[in-house]
C-alpha cells in the first residue's frame, strides 16, 4: 500500500511535465533580449490559465517554422511573413503598404482580438493566438544617390526567399533580387553584397546595420510594411478559450512592444522621409504592388479589405477610399 502511494505521487509529480506544451520562439537574440523575456512572462500567465508552456529559442526562423509544421512544437512565435503559410488571413497583416502607421496597426490588432473575427484566426489545425508589433519595415540604402524609386533600378536588393511579395516588389521597381534570409541579409548589406534592404528598426543596432549605411547611406522614413510577431497554436492541443485569452493578452502588450520599437527608431542615423513630392508616388507603388500580389494569391483579400477599412476610417479623403480596387 505504501509502495503504491509513492508510485502515485511520482506519477503526479511527472504529470505537469508530460502535459507541457512546447512553444518554439524565433528570436534573433536567442534566449537574450526583450522578446524572449516577454515570452517567459507569457508562459507565467499561461500557467495561470492551466497551460504549462515550455519555451525553446530558435535563432533561425526557418527551422522554428519547419519544426512547428513537423509537429515538433505545439506553438510557435514567428514573424507575420512566415506565419502567412499557416494562416493567410492574419499573416497578411504584414502586407506591403497595408497600414501607414502604428495607430492603424493598433486598431487592426484590436479588431482581430474581437470574438466576431475569431473564426478567421483559425485555419485548419492552426490558430493565431496573438499579434505583436515588430515595427515598420523601412528601406535601408547604402548610397544617398539612390534618391528615387527610379534610381533603384539595377540595384541589388536583399529579398527573403520565403516571401514572394518581396521578390515581386524587387522586380516591379527593376531591382536585382538577391536571395537572403534573416540570418544573412544584414551581413550582405554591411559587406556591400547588396545595396538595399528592408528591415525594422529593432534590427538596426543588434545587426549593426549602421555599418552598411555608413556615412553615405540613408534610411527612408516611410513604412513599407508593418511587421509583426504572431503566436501560432495547434489549437487542438490547448483549452478552448486559450487562444482568445492569449489574443487579448498580446493586444495588451502592444504599448510595451512599441516602447522597444520607438526606442530603436530613435537610434537610426540618416533617417529621412522621402524627398518632397515623392511620398504619393511611393504610396502608389506600394498600393499597386499590394493589389497585384493579392490578385496573385499572396495576400488574403478579406484582410486587404479590412485593412482598407482601417485606413479609410482614419483618412476618408484618400483617393483609394472611393475606389473598389481592394
Amino acid at each position: 500500500m505504501k509502495r503504491y502511494r509513492w508510485r502515485l505521487l511520482w506519477l503526479l509529480a511527472l504529470a505537469p511535465m508530460t502535459m507541457a506544451q512546447s512553444l518554439c520562439v524565433f528570436s534573433v537574440q536567442g534566449t537574450q533580449g526583450e522578446l524572449y523575456g516577454q515570452m517567459k512572462d507569457f508562459a507565467l500567465v499561461a500557467h495561470g490559465w492551466g497551460v504549462e508552456l515550455e519555451l525553446k529559442a530558435f535563432v533561425d526562423e526557418r527551422i522554428a517554422a519547419e519544426d512547428f509544421k513537423a509537429d515538433q512544437c505545439d506553438a510557435a512565435l514567428l514573424t507575420g511573413i512566415r506565419a502567412r503559410a499557416f494562416n493567410p488571413f492574419a499573416g497578411s497583416v504584414d502586407a506591403i503598404g497595408g497600414l501607414p502607421d502604428y495607430e492603424a496597426l493598433h486598431t487592426l490588432i484590436t479588431l482581430l482580438a474581437r470574438p466576431e473575427l475569431a473564426p478567421r484566426m483559425r485555419h485548419g489545425a492552426y490558430e493565431v493566438a496573438g499579434i505583436m508589433p515588430l515595427g515598420a519595415a523601412y528601406i535601408f540604402l547604402n548610397d544617398r544617390g539612390i534618391s528615387s524609386i527610379e534610381k533603384m533600378a539595377g540595384k541589388r536588393l536583399a529579398v527573403f526567399e520565403h516571401d514572394p511579395a518581396q521578390i515581386a516588389m524587387a522586380k516591379r521597381i527593376g531591382a536585382q533580387p538577391v536571395s537572403s534570409d534573416v540570418s544573412n541579409f544584414a551581413g550582405k548589406f554591411n559587406n556591400g553584397v547588396v545595396d538595399v534592404i528592408a528591415a525594422p528598426a529593432v534590427a538596426y543596432m543588434p545587426l549593426e546595420l549602421y555599418r552598411g549605411i555608413g556615412a553615405n547611406g540613408v534610411v527612408v522614413d516611410m513604412p513599407v510594411a508593418q511587421l509583426t510577431f504572431q503566436l501560432l497554436l495547434r489549437h487542438q492541443r490547448f483549452p478552448a478559450d486559450f487562444a482568445a485569452r492569449s489574443r487579448q493578452y498580446f493586444l495588451d502588450l502592444f504599448d510595451q512592444a512599441m516602447q522597444v520599437v520607438r526606442a530603436s527608431e530613435s537610434e537610426i542615423l540618416f533617417f529621412f522621409p522621402p524627398p518632397d513630392g515623392d511620398g504619393p508616388r511611393y504610396r502608389q507603388l506600394l498600393q499597386d504592388s499590394r493589389i497585384a500580389l493579392t490578385e496573385q494569391g499572396y495576400y488574403d483579400p478579406q484582410m486587404m479589405r479590412l485593412m482598407k477599412r482601417v485606413r479609410c476610417s482614419r483618412s476618408p479623403n484618400q483617393a483609394e477610399c472611393s475606389d473598389e480596387r481592394e
Binding site: 544617398r144 555608413g214 556615412a215 530613435s266 537610434e267 542615423l269 533617417f271 529621412f272 522621409p273 518632397d276
Partner: protein, 158 residues
C-alpha cells in the same frame, strides 16, 4: 457721445493690438542671445535645451545638394530633426562645429530671421566627413518664449 465713445474704444483697441505686436516680436538683442544659446546647446550636446528652443510644430526644410548636381528637398518634423542631431552625437567619434557670424533681419511678418553658416567636421565609422549648412532660421514667440518656428537649410555632405 456715442461716436466719440466708439473712437476711444477704437483707439484703445488699436493701441492694444500694436502693444501686443511689439510684445510678440523678437528684438535683435533677444535673437542674439537665443542664437548663442542654440549654438552652445549644439556644442555641449545638450538635447534638452535644443528641444526647448525648437517649437514642437517647427517646419524643417533641408535642400540637400546631390553629388551629381542639383538639389533634393526634404521636409522633416521637429522631433525627427532633433532625433537626427542626437544620432550624430551618438555615432560621431569626434565632432567639430563652427559657425559663421549670424546675420539678423526681419521678414514681411516682422518675424526675426537669422542666417548663418554651420560647418560640422566629424568622424563617422572611421571616415572623415563634413557637413556644411547654410541656415535660415525664423524665430517667433510662442506663449511668450522665443522658439525656432522654421528652419531652412541648404546642406552639403561630403
Amino acid at each position: 457721445m456715442s461716436a466719440s465713445k466708439n473712437t476711444i474704444i477704437g483707439l484703445l483697441l488699436s493701441f492694444g493690438l500694436t502693444a501686443s505686436q511689439v510684445h510678440a516680436s523678437v528684438s535683435k538683442r533677444d535673437a542674439v542671445e537665443f542664437v548663442h544659446q542654440y549654438q552652445q546647446a549644439l556644442l555641449s550636446r545638450d538635447a534638452d535645451t535644443l528641444n526647448y528652443l525648437m517649437a514642437a510644430d517647427a517646419r524643417i526644410r533641408i535642400e540637400l545638394e546631390q553629388p551629381e548636381g542639383g538639389r533634393q528637398q526634404f521636409t522633416l518634423t521637429a522631433p525627427r530633426f532633433l532625433q537626427q542631431i542626437r544620432a550624430i552625437w551618438h555615432f560621431a567619434g569626434t565632432q567639430k562645429l563652427e559657425f559663421s557670424a549670424p546675420e539678423y533681419s526681419r521678414d514681411d511678418n516682422d518675424s526675426m530671421i537669422v542666417t548663418m553658416q554651420q560647418v560640422d567636421r566629424r568622424v563617422l565609422f572611421g571616415q572623415q566627413t563634413r557637413q556644411q549648412d547654410s541656415l535660415t532660421i525664423r524665430l517667433d514667440r510662442q506663449s511668450g518664449q522665443i522658439r525656432i518656428v522654421e528652419l531652412n537649410s541648404v546642406s552639403r555632405l561630403w
